[in-house]
Amino acid sequence: MTARRLRTLVLIGLAALLLAVWAFPVLWALLTSFKTERDVLAYPPTVIFEPTLRNYRDVLFGSASILPNLVSSTIVAGASTLLTLVFAIPAAYALARLDLPAKRASGFYVLATQMLPPVGLIIPYYLVLQKIGGLDTYGGLIAIYLTFSLPFAIWLMVSYFEDIPREMEEAALLDRAGRLRALWYVILPQVRGGIAVTTIFVFLNAWNEFLFAVVLGGNRVRPVTVAMFNFISVEQTLWAKLAAGAMLAMAPVIVLGLLAQRHIVKGLTVGAVKGGGRT
């Protein structure tokens, strides 16, 4: 019996260790964000120190403010999420319910766009936006974000629409409500949860995006992922400010991730689960 208890203890210890490996860098950054730059460099590292809010004040309102960048990120991620939902919901409904000729092909196409490395797409995007004056504009970056968020959202929403029994809307259609009214009044309330999850994932991906932001953005449109590099240069690293900035940049996605935690697996494996061929 004791051997068994010992084994359980070892297992719990191992699990706790791994928990620490995952959580520790983030907790360490949280701790660092309350230190002065001098405390950061102390060896051995101090766990007990006089906490300061100065880093947050500097990062928000000081000379190194990332407030405009947080605003930039909010505009880009917010607008692209909104537009994505407006287009993805009807598109997903059509893919789930209507008999479209190229359903399988369009399904594979949508999946393929998820798989392509963004580096392979960035040069054409750059040249096109340059030609139409879309570099460093919100419109330009939001349009590019739709290219990866729309396919993702459509795939995710299709799976939610397919979970709804067809009888529901058939009843509505018999009552001579049009397709759109049936969608609006009968189907959408049923997929409310799915829409919430989709919203969270689309926003999260847009908020975290970096490559498109750094190449297609500029001084006006500069999301917070790009602004993180403000704190780091060849000459010096502003450790505590970087940590404070990173905490601010990460706070929204951590909250969203925790809200959506039950659906994370579904969101991450969307597309692959059904493997392109729809049944």
Binding site: A23, I123, W239
Partner: protein
């Protein structure tokens, strides 16, 4: 051939020059090799660690919920922020967490991202840290869905723990593992931001996977033509790999 960024159409049409140049470009072959190492090692590490972890967590009586929440943390973070984090707070010499540990253990201080020998290992570790939770969560979901009766029967037949794993658990969760391998391979092939933030492809070209090479060529050396050609090669590789993987998966599903 080079393309002027402001007037890309002035250079004329290069035909296949850019692709011909690639064959004799050692930096291209080097980056292709690094891409292969990076992709293969991160995928294998994620699957092995994620699977072991999932098996471990299933056996602890409590704390599973805490593990699930901790696993979500790295996944939702922006890879570029993760890369910066590791570059500064975790891996930088003297101040970083890892150095603090190795110094305390008497293993000395290392320049984890500045030493060409260690940099590739470091960026592989960063990717593995961030994405093992993905494998863990997907495999755990699949394991949790298995019915306990199967194992009861095997236990009565006195199958050893390894036999139970090898002949019962593994075949049952194979679809989940295949999904993880496919998705993680695709994502490793398009990895960019974390390496960009941690090393920028350096020191020298020691962490310059194909993505980084294409980016540097296009936007640091401003040679859009050759950069685009490199990116097209990467696209072709990704498409070919995904085609093969979905083929294998379909065959596995039929068998």
């Amino acid at each position: 051939m080079r393309i002027d960024l402001s007037m890309p159409w002035l250079g004329g049409f290069a035909g296949v020059d850019n692709y011909a140049k690639m064959g004799g470009d050692p930096r291209f072959w080097h980056s292709l090799w690094l891409t292969l190492i990076y992709t293969a090692s991160t995928v294998v590490l994620q699957v092995v660690l994620g699977l072991s972890l999932a098996l471990l967590v299933l056996r602890i009586p409590r704390g599973q919920a805490a593990m699930r929440i901790a696993a979500i943390l790295p996944i939702v973070l922006a890879p570029v922020v993760v890369g910066l984090f590791w570059r500064t707070l975790v891996l930088s010499p003297d101040v970083g967490l890892v150095d603090v540990v190795t110094r305390a253990l008497g293993l000395g201080s290392h320049n984890w991202l500045g030493d060409p020998q260690l940099a590739l290992i470091s960026v592989i570790a960063i990717h593995t840290w961030q994405w093992t939770p993905f494998a863990f969560l997907v495999i755990l979901a699949s394991l949790s869905a298995l019915s306990p009766e199967v194992f009861e029967a095997a236990r009565i037949d006195r199958a050893s723990a390894w036999q139970r794993f090898r002949y019962i658990t593994l075949p049952l969760i194979r679809p989940a593992i295949v999904i993880v391998v496919i998705m993680r391979t695709m994502i490793a092939l398009s990895a960019f931001a974390a390496i960009f933030a941690a090393t920028g492809g350096g020191p020298g070209t020691s962490t310059e996977i194909l993505n980084l090479y294409a980016y540097r060529t296009s936007f640091s050396e401003l040679n859009l033509g050759y950069g685009a050609a490199l990116a097209v090669v990467l696209l072709a590789i990704t498409l070919a790999v995904s085609f093969v993987m979905f083929r294998v998966r379909r065959r596995a599903a039929v068998a």
